[in-house]
Amino acid sequence: MSAPESDHSPLLDARDISLERGGKLILDRVSVQIPPAEVAVVIGPNGAGKTSLLRVLLGLWQPTRGQVKRRRGLRIGYMPQRLQIEPVLPLSVRRFLTLRQRAPRAELVAHLERVGVPHLLDKPVQSLSGGEMQRVLLARALLNRPNLLVLDEPAQGVDIVGQGEVFRLIDDIRRETGCGVLMVSHDLHLVMAGADAVICLNQHVCCTGRPEEVSRHPEYQRLFPTADVQGIGIYKHDHNHVHDLHGEVHDLDENGTGGSHGCGHAHHHGQGTPKR
């Protein structure tokens, strides 16, 4: 780790960002700071400008007003919302991972193993399921040894059981590598449980703070009237089994070698029916 990573200045510092596209105001004086080693989650209803904000923060779009400061030496690992590759392009997972930078096979396997899909290395990318693709995308984002992970709807197209797994994985990786995480999601329960900071967006920043604070905020409750105030707490509990990639349930033994860990992680129990 290089020197500038030890300080606590924000990884990204966006001040008074406004964005207009096609004469329409999409973001209105949005200020966001992403501190190192924290999980920041942007939530908001459809059309709130979540993905637009992400694009501005990533530098893909220029804001109409305001500016985004990046910390020196910032390495972003980006996981896009979805990735569809034309079937006419023959591309293996291995080739996909090394599109930008070459890496030895062992390193690729290690990264795939970290996200739980080492067996996919030589498979065509088009053959992956939604959950497998998300994991491969995550592995690719990690290859660059990022100090900021940016994830756009990371659980998109993943079944309810797999969603908890994806969020748990992201949380683990954050713990292991100390990278900051910026995530956009509409899935309030699963995401807010693991967040350090929640930014509630609806063109402007409605409210921001720790998940408990935001969930009690009147603006939040107005935007998400069905959101259960207690809801975010429900999923924070220890449990005695894990679901693997295929949704199969494995009991954890005494040592917890079932693949899980001791800390309470976001996990959905009520609706996830294990499938075979």
Binding site: R55, G59, L89, L91, N144
Partner: protein, 273 residues
């Protein structure tokens, strides 16, 4: 020895065709991957405008065609960004306007009797030694550009935003691709004509897909298949006294059908994944 061969119009024709196919195939793979077939068509249709301008200004035709094709391509990209009209409408307008404008302009030039058919459908049997040199230079630059741009272009094709975040200079790479397409069109014009150039790019590439398990294999095989198709086409044209450009495209089509009729287990697979 070589000079004696170059005196043979049939040899020159085949050589020109092989050179064009060797670069049109691999580039065609990108055209197929990026769904640019109609885009390629539009640009090649505007090549005739380049021919007319070349005659008017007394400039090298290949150079003028390249310049006009790049200009139309850039115009297209700018118009597409405004998103007022759907992409295919825009392409349709430009393709047919450019073609008609080219034909009108060519017939307007006084004292010049241009064989329009030669430009529309190619006149490979009339390829001279200087044409060969022009094709070699244009094709060579295109192939070199393709090799240099290969990795960023592939990254861009898979996911443009991801590529940008990872530091690919997207605009420069896209402009490079435009230049590449324009160079190949200028080189291929004499072989199959402006109306059929896209066929020489996408049909071999589409045939190569069934054999390939990596992007590189597909591009390489597209080049090889394109070259076989040119040989078959020139031979067929000689044998049955048919126009060469369309005969080459017919050969490409027959090859495509053959490849897709073969059961998968009979297809050779090249290398591992």
């Amino acid at each position: 020895m070589i000079e004696a061969w170059l005196d043979d119009f049939l040899f020159r024709a085949v050589l020109a065709g092989l050179m064009v196919a060797a670069v049109a195939g691999p580039l065609g793979a990108f055209v197929v991957w990026r769904r640019m077939a109609y885009f390629g068509d539009t640009i090649s249709h505007s090549a005739l405008l380049g021919v007319a301008l070349g005659f008017l200004l007394g400039m090298n035709l290949n150079l003028m065609v390249t310049i006009v094709c790049v200009a139309i391509a850039v115009l297209l990209v700018i118009l597409q960004r405004r998103q007022e009209l759907a992409s295919d409408t825009l392409l349709g307008i430009l393709a047919h306007s450019a073609l008609s404008l080219g034909i009108v302009a060519v017939t307007f030039i006084e004292g010049l009797r241009v064989d329009l058919m030669a430009y529309l459908f190619g006149d490979i049997l009339a390829v001279g030694t200087s044409d060969l040199v022009a094709i070699a230079i244009g094709g060579g630059i295109a192939l070199l550009l393709l090799v240099l741009l290969w990795r960023p272009l592939l990254a861009l094709t898979v996911h443009e935003e991801l590529a940008r975040v990872e530091g690919v200079p997207v605009l420069a790479v896209r402009l490079g691709l435009m230049l590449l397409i324009a160079l190949v069109i200028a080189a291929a014009m004499q072989v199959v004509g402006v109306l059929l150039i896209t066929a020489l790019m996408i049909i071999p590439a589409a045939s190569a897909r069934r054999f390939a398990s990596t992007p590189e294999q597909m591009a390489f095989l597209a080049g090889v298949i394109g070259m076989l198709v040119v040989i078959a086409g020139v031979w067929g044209s000689f044998q049955y006294d048919t126009p060469t450009g369309p005969t080459i495209v017919v050969a490409a089509m027959l090859g495509f059908i053959l490849v897709h009729l073969l059961p998968a287990r009979l297809l050779p697979q090249f290398g591992g994944r």
